[in-house]
Structures are given as structure tokens and as C-alpha cells.
């Protein structure tokens, strides 16, 4: 048999019907994650056609995008002030109730950002096909799953048939050799990859991240890397499973247990690409040359080393981006004043991200005139952070400690920038207005964001870490 890549093995194992000259392949979906924003219209399609959800037990729902992250009231509930959001959230409750779908509702212990809770519960597993009406579904590829974002029509397809019509994507190997230096994180690594590939550079491809620098990453760091694959235009990003993966999953509430665990691990060990398997395209990086990264423009591909100068625009679109950001070519961003720091999102809201940020915040105060918002990715992470006293470090510094959700990454839940404000954000998109109409975003790691919070300006966190 021809040697196969991880992607090829997963694709082959999920073909319900192979592609023909008339139709794309029909692919089986093992796990469908849904949330309140991209699912209501899909349930309307089901109701109109009098269809049921084919496999409710393969569907998991939570609320994250339009949910507020403001502190709970004295009744222990999270208040929803926006009537439209309340209606949307209520709609998901009704839909999950009517169709028998497991829901981690707002206020419950299992609630959180959909891409944070899947792995946390252990429902995300190697070898699976995983979809969600959200482009950052690529996050789950960190486990050696084929995970990609879909539109709402496709959400209805999966609800009704547990299958999707899919064109087979091409494969792109991103190999990262060497070792990341002190103060350079997984977020910096992926921002560097996207800066080289460009925002459309991965279009039509599934990326497999490989090499010693990827193997050295924890699961949470791998999730940060795979999460942003879509920011290079790739459908998915994936990392072959290994001992790190199995250790993360062992004992998770929904991971296989006992004999089923041993059987699962044995099957997962067959997933990594075969010796001699080839990719449609390959890119190589050296981790040892990477620096902390920051974006300067209005897409995630417009990133640079934090000490570098803003590159000269290559055309009208670049000029428009710099004008929006209020930046000039050849200027340094170090020392640039900021208004808001956001630490959170499906990219960087996990416990290790919060611990990293806390190392910088500890014993310091948030700079005058800066608002720092720290939003854990899930209720479980929030509880864990509080058990470790991280919330106290943030609160003592003067930062806001919030409930779990997408928060200021998407600015549709009350957390947003004012027009013209500058933010250093650990999220994944710096598009115009992404964090609030007129707001201006610098994407960076939790370390860089924390350093900006306490200094009030863009700062190389390594100068504070000692």
C-alpha cells in the first residue's frame, strides 16, 4: 500500500461514498459541536423538512459567542442584557431540548468556548472527523483529528445525516525544527507561520504541523497552533497524536476508560503518517530563529517580530490597513501606547495561557488608563485558575476577571473596543472592527499581552521576565 499521511488515513477512514465525476465524496462526521450563533437557521431547516437529528449522541452544544462574560448576579446567574442575544441563547436551549442534544448551557459547570470544552471533556479524540459552524474548529486537529469549520447549511446536513459532501483538500506539511527560545511561545510560532504563508497561503489545503519543535509542545500549545490554521486560509491544521496527546486525554470524563482505552490508544498509534508519505507542498521553519511576534495590520498574516519595523506597504490594500491602524511604514511598535488588553479566546484562554500571563502580572499593577480583560475559556478553567489563585493576581493588578466565553474576540456580547482604541489581544483576528467598530488590534501571545497591560505600551515581555 502507498504510504499515507495522517490526513490521508483520516480521510480514507471516513469515506461513506467515494467521489465520482458528478459528486464529491460523502464523508462521515464523528463529532458535531454546535453553538448558539451558527445553528438556529440549521434547526429551522430540520423543522421545515420534518427531519430529526440523526445521531444526537454525536452532537455537543454550548453557548459562547453572544453570551455575556460579566460577573454573576447575587442569584448566581449571568445576566443577559441584550434581548436579541437572550432570544438566540433561548433558541439553542429549545433546539437542544427538542432534538435531544447534550447542552452545556450558560451558567453551567461545563460551559465555555466550544473549542475549549471539546478537548476538556475528552470528546475530541485522535482519528475523528470533527466539524462545527465556526472556522476555528481547526483547533481540534491538535489531537490528530480532521477538524474543520462549516457553514450553517452544512450544520443542517450534519444534523440530519451525520455526513457532508466534501472536496478533498490538498496537503501542506509545515515542519518546525529546533527549539523555541525563552519567552517565545506557541502563539509566536503560529503567527510566524501565518506571516510567511500569508492570509490566503493555505487556501485549499490541510496543514500538518510536524518536527521536533511541534513534538515539544504541550497539548494546549498545540491547540493554539492548530487553532490559527484558518488564518492562513487552510481548512484544517493537524498534529499526529503521541504520548503527550494520550496523557492529556487519559481520565477525561468522555475519553474511553479501561479496556476501551487500551484499544483506543492502540488504534491511535496507527494514525501518524507513514514513512515515505508525501505532501502536495512543504514548508520548513527553524524554531530557534523565531522571536515574539506582533501584528501591525488588519489581517493575521500582517505580523512581524516584536522588535522589527512595520514593513513598507506593497499596494493599496496594505496602505488601507496601515491607515486604519494609524501606523507608518518603518516605525517600530515597541513603546506604542495601548488602551485595552484582552487575554482570552479559543486561541489563548487555557490554564497554561493564564499561568503565563500571571507570571508577568504578579506583583504589578495594570498601567493607568489601560483596561485589562481576562476571560477564561471555560468554567472549568475559571475554577482551576481560582484554585491556583491566578484570579487574585489579576484582580490585585486591577484587571477584570470574567466568566467564560468568546468575549472581546468577536465583540457581539457586550465586550468590545471603542472606535479608535488600540488593543493587544491574544485572540486570532485583527480584522477591521473585529473587536468593536473602529477598534484596532495587535495580535500577540499572552506574555506580550500581559507585558502591555502593566507597561501601557507594546513591550517585549522578555525584558520583564529576567
Amino acid at each position: 500500500m502507498k504510504p499515507r499521511t495522517l490526513f490521508e488515513k483520516l480521510w480514507d477512514a471516513h469515506v461513506v461514498l467515494p467521489a465520482t465525476s458528478d459528486t464529491p465524496a460523502v464523508i462521515y462526521i464523528d463529532l458535531h459541536l454546535i453553538h448558539e450563533v451558527t445553528s438556529p437557521q440549521a434547526f429551522t431547516i430540520l423543522r421545515d423538512a420534518k427531519l430529526r437529528v440523526r445521531r444526537p449522541e454525536r452532537t455537543v452544544a454550548t453557548m459562547d459567542h453572544s453570551t455575556p462574560t460579566t460577573p454573576r448576579g447575587s442569584d448566581g446567574r449571568i445576566p443577559i442584557l441584550d434581548a436579541q442575544a437572550a432570544k438566540q441563547i433561548g433558541q439553542l436551549e429549545t433546539n437542544c431540548g427538542d432534538f435531544g442534544i447534550e447542552l452545556h448551557a450558560l451558567g453551567s459547570d461545563g460551559q465555555g468556548i466550544v473549542h475549549v470544552i471539546g478537548p476538556e471533556l475528552g470528546v475530541t479524540q485522535p482519528g475523528m472527523t470533527i466539524v462545527c459552524g465556526d472556522s476555528h474548529t481547526s483547533t481540534h486537529g491538535a489531537f490528530g483529528a480532521l477538524a474543520f469549520g462549516i457553514g450553517t447549511s452544512e450544520v443542517s446536513h450534519v444534523l440530519a445525516t451525520q455526513s457532508l459532501l466534501q472536496q478533498r483538500p490538498k496537503t501542506l506539511a509545515v515542519t518546525v525544527d529546533g527549539t523555541l527560545r525563552h519567552g517565545v511561545t506557541a502563539k509566536d510560532l503560529i503567527l510566524a507561520v501565518i506571516a510567511r504563508l500569508g492570509i490566503g497561503g493555505g487556501t485549499g489545503h490541510v496543514i500538518e504541523y510536524r518536527g521536533p519543535a511541534i513534538r515539544a509542545l504541550s497539548m494546549e500549545e498545540r491547540m493554539t497552533v492548530c487553532n490559527m490554521s484558518i488564518e492562513a486560509g487552510a481548512r484544517a491544521g493537524m498534529i499526529a497524536p503521541d504520548e503527550t496527546t494520550y496523557q492529556y486525554l487519559a481520565g477525561r470524563p468522555r475519553a474511553p476508560q479501561g479496556a476501551a482505552w487500551d484499544k483506543a490508544v492502540a488504534a491511535w498509534k496507527l494514525l501518524p503518517g507513514d514513512e515515505g508519505a508525501t505532501f502536495d507542498r512543504e514548508e520548513h521553519f527553524d524554531a530557534a530563529t523565531l522571536e515574539p511576534m506582533i501584528t501591525y495590520g488588519t489581517n493575521p498574516g500582517m505580523g512581524m517580530a516584536i522588535g522589527a519595523s512595520v514593513p513598507a506597504p506593497k499596494g493599496a490594500s496594505d496602505e488601507k490597513a496601515l491607515a486604519y491602524m494609524g501606523l507608518k511604514a518603518h516605525q517600530s511598535l515597541l513603546g506604542h501606547g495601548i488602551d485595552v488588553v484582552f487575554i482570552g479566546s479559543c486561541t489563548n484562554s487555557r490554564i497554561s495561557d493564564l499561568r503565563q500571563a500571571a507570571t508577568v502580572f504578579r506583583g504589578h499593577k495594570v498601567a493607568k488608563n489601560v483596561r485589562a480583560l481576562i476571560v477564561p475559556g471555560s468554567q472549568r478553567i475559571k475554577k482551576q485558575a481560582e484554585a491556583e489563585g491566578l484570579d487574585k493576581i489579576f484582580r490585585d493588578a486591577g484587571a477584570d476577571w470574567r466568566e467564560a466565553g468568546c468575549s472581546m474576540c468577536i465583540a457581539m456580547n457586550g465586550d468590545q473596543l471603542a472606535p479608535g482604541q488600540y488593543a493587544v489581544s491574544t485572540s486570532n483576528r485583527n480584522f477591521e472592527g473585529r473587536q468593536g467598530a473602529g477598534g484596532r488590534t495587535f495580535l500577540a501571545s499572552p506574555l506580550t499581552a500581559a507585558a502591555a497591560a502593566i507597561t501601557g505600551k507594546i513591550t517585549d515581555a522578555r525584558t520583564l521576565l529576567g
Binding site: T38, T44, Q162, G200, A411
Partner: protein, 192 residues
Amino acid sequence: MEAIRTFSSKTVVLPIENVDTDQIIPARFLKTTSKQGLGKQLFSDWRYDGSGQPKADFVLNRPEAQGASVLVAGDNFGCGSSREHAPWALYDYGFRAVVSTTIADIFRSNALKNGLLPIIVDQALHGHLVAAPGTTVTISLETQTIALPDGTTAKFSVEPFARYCLLNGIDELQFLLSQDDAIKTFEARSSA
């Protein structure tokens, strides 16, 4: 869904590259539970000022753009979020085709399910269309061609199955539902 065959329209040109779906429709409009009526929020932050008044210099607000159903856009149109609200908004506004040099994967897939044709042309034809806003083009899904008044004609490619669905006004879901036996067989095999 309405079937698409052949139509003619003048173009609107938005030559910015990497137009992301947050620009096509900002997230704050995603709190709806319907897919109707999103056209008024299309390109909201480029189209209206802070007080909700149309910005005179934005292309969709110019008199000559009224009634156009073909959007000519810069490279990598529709990148970013998977929100299907983006093609819903473009369609509801009146667009039936987006012409670019590359189009992002998820947007392309979503557009094809909603009667909005994603049309990829080469740099030369794209340059020609960008340089002459308001050109009347004739787009035929049957022949997979885009024709200009000067006789220039270019082929574009559409996945055969998506083309079949669009030409006949049918939905991919019907096809998937008709494959129930194959899906059952797959499920039986994988749980064995």
C-alpha cells in the same frame, strides 16, 4: 432555492484584497435567528458612518452601483469566519456572483449553497474588470462562461455537483438524505 442559468448585470468593483467575512457582515449582526434581511447590514462598517448615514465614497452608495448584481472583488475574497451570514447578506442585497482571483474555501462552499456564484478569473481579466467598473457582464452557469461587451469570454470552473444543484434549484441536503443506506452501512461497519 431559485435556479440560476444565465444572467447579465453591470459590475460593482471593490478592489480591496482579503475582504474578510467580518467586513461583509460584522459579528454584532449575527444575533439573528433568521437568514432573511441581512442585505441592509452588508459591508455595514464601510457603508455607513457612526451615526448610520451612508458614506458617500463607499462604492455601494454610489448611484451608478444601484441594481448591480455582480461584485468584482480583490484577491482572497471571503476569508476569515465561516459565517454563512456573509453569502446570505450578499444575496439578500441583490448580488448573484462574486468575481475574484481567489476566494476563501468556506465562503466559496457557503456561497454555492445560496445561489451566489463564486467566479475565479485570471489576473488579466480581473485587471480589466477592475479598471472598468460598471461593465455589463453576461454570466452563464450552463456554459460556465463570463462574457464582456467587447467579446472577451472566459471559462470559469464550478464543482459539477454544485453546478447541478444550482441549475436545478435543488439542495445538497436532498442528495445526502437519499444516501441513507450508504450511511447506515458505514455506521454498521465502523461500530463493528
